[in-house]
């Protein structure tokens, strides 16, 4: 479980997040929605320790994450799939996965087999350089690289960015299946509100750094004002 309380993050005089509070519950998908510049990516980067908050607390279960180094936060079991996927193009598919498994106490061979079952295309291309994969395949690789370490929390930053609708639908299905089969806590940052709300249990809507909604995904999806003014979902 990730608990965020009164979180404020600044870039100089500009406040990227303003007093944001919410709880991402264990085994649930929490969608963080909002337009460009709403502060979604900053939120994930702050949880991972890449950005220092000005005020507020972030806790994983009872453990405070603020002030910890990014690599130590990762070793606590927080997997972060960054915006743009962050696969290492010069590495093969398998080298990317080996890197993901390295810091976790997991059996590498078993981990690789599990990911190849989950994402068969990665198994077929295990010796290929990641730079040669398509956008969807890279997204799968980034997810598999985070999952191979068996994280308890998964932070996903715009996983559908640049993907075809069919690939996005498959991806969302995979995320949903992962949550259902394990106690994985997912914080899913998305601009594609429709896809995210379809699989999320809970939703937080950010607008210029402020949380304007923090409710069940069902209620957020049913709120006409939120849909129209903040999520751009007009029927």
């Amino acid at each position: 479980m990730i608990t965020i309380d009164d979180l404020t993050v600044s870039f100089g005089a500009v406040q990227a997040l303003r007093h944001v509070s919410f709880v991402a519950e264990t085994g649930k998908i929490t969608a963080v929605l909002g337009a460009n510049g709403a502060g979604k990516t900053t939120l994930l980067r702050t949880i991972s320790g890449l950005k220092e908050p000005k005020t507020g607390t972030i806790r994983m279960d009872e453990r405070s994450l603020v002030g910890k180094r990014t690599e130590d936060i990762a070793r606590l079991g927080i997997g972060h799939v960054p915006e743009g996927r962050g696969v290492i193009g010069e590495f093969t598919v398998e080298e990317n996965l080996r890197l993901g498994a390295m810091m976790a106490k997991v059996n590498l061979q078993r981990g690789l087999e599990e990911q190849y079952v989950q994402f068969p295309v990665l198994g077929e291309r295990r010796k290929q350089h990641a730079a040669k994969l398509s956008g969807g395949e890279r997204q799968m690789l980034a997810m598999a690289r985070a999952l191979i370490a068996k994280p308890s929390v998964l932070l996903l930053d715009e996983p559908s960015l640049g993907l075809a609708p069919l690939v996005t639908a498959q991806l969302m299905h995979t995320i949903q299946a992962l949550c259902e089969t394990s106690d994985l806590t997912v914080i899913l940052v998305e601009q594609n509100a429709r896809s995210a709300l379809r699989i999320a249990h809970h939703a937080v809507v950010l607008h210029v750094g402020k949380a304007v909604a923090n409710d069940t995904a069902e209620n957020v999806a049913a709120d006409d004002n939120l849909r129209q003014y903040y999520l751009g979902l007009v029927e």
Binding site: T70, A74, H80, G86, E90, F91, M102, M103
Partner: protein, 300 residues
């Protein structure tokens, strides 16, 4: 067969190979640091020089050759690590001119301090192997036990470094830290420690090179400036091979050594540096990012 092996051509190739592997080693150490931190380390010759003085001059007369090598390697690792941690770390992300100025300054300081402590008089290093050329059918072969030791050591070091990067977990982390530091940190890799380790490794490669070029009986010995000339050729080799390519740097170093030897023998020793610079200019005009650097190969 015998006349061929003792011919002028073979003699130049062997002589060039001996010099070339040392240029390749300097180029390799430059590439290791460039790839991991984006810094051109102009003190890459001076740092190992200092470590060699610690191993071979401070302990001269007390320990045998191999123990002195061990101490020099430890001193090099310490100098490389401390330099990264306390001098270089604050320079990451700064304008490119900043690390260049700092490292040139560090080179001058190290050479001056070494001269002040140990003087500029050359110190001869003990020889583990004879430096006299073998003979074949009464004619000298341009190969002695020491030059063979030099070539084999350089090849072993290069193969070990390549194997470290290609086949070990540590190598994978080192490469990942250089290519994508932020992503590596998100995966739990302790990037700061690995950068320190990268500098330690490069300085250790450098100290082995310094020990090889300062020994050998016909060498002029260890001086504070012993690596200046070799650094220049190593730098040229790294630029020709491509600063992103360890293998390219080594190959370019070896080829440069052989070309230099032929120029020295068939043209004039004064023409060596001129030809080396012409080769550099021409190769950079044709392939600005280096002969062995793929166009897509760059930091993420």
């Amino acid at each position: 067969m015998d006349p061929f092996l003792t011919s002028r051509i073979v003699s130049d190739i062997l002589g060039g190979l001996t010099n070339g592997v040392t240029y390749g080693m300097v180029a390799l150490s430059l590439v290791l640091i460039w790839r991991s931190t984006g810094i051109l380390n102009f003190a890459q010759g001076a740092m190992p020089m200092f470590a060699t003085y610690i191993g071979f001059v401070v302990f001269a007369g007390h320990l045998d050759y191999w123990a002195c090598v061990g101490i020099s390697v430890l001193a090099a690792a310490a100098i490389g690590g401390l330099t990264e941690r306390f001098l270089v770390r604050g320079l990451y992300g700064k304008p490119e001119i900043n690390p260049i100025v700092v490292m040139v300054g560090f080179l001058i300081v190290l050479e001056a301090v070494a001269a002040a402590i140990w003087s500029t008089t050359p110190k001869s290093l003990p020889n583990p192997f004879s430096a006299f050329d073998w003979h074949l059918a009464g004619k000298p072969l341009t190969l002695s036990p020491f030059t063979l030791y030099e070539i084999v050591t350089a090849l072993v070091v290069m193969i070990l470094v390549a194997a470290l990067f290609r086949f070990t977990k540590l190598g994978l982390q080192l490469r990942a830290s250089a290519l994508a530091p932020e992503v590596s940190r998100l995966l739990g890799v302790r990037v700061g420690r690995l950068l320190t380790l990268g500098w330690m490794l490069a300085t250790v490669v450098g100290v082995i090179t310094t020990i090889l070029v300062s020994g050998g009986g016909f060498s002029s010995g260890l001086t504070p400036q012993v690596m200046d000339g070799i650094f220049a050729y190593g730098f040229i080799a790294a630029a020709i091979g491509g600063l992103e390519s360890p293998v390219g740097a080594i190959i370019a170093g070896v080829v440069l050594g052989i070309v230099n030897q032929f120029v020295d023998d068939f043209v004039n020793s004064n023409a060596v540096i001129i030809v080396a610079l012409v080769v550099l200019i021409v190769s950079l005009m044709i392939r600005p990012s280096g002969v062995f650097t793929k166009s897509a190969q760059r930091r993420v």
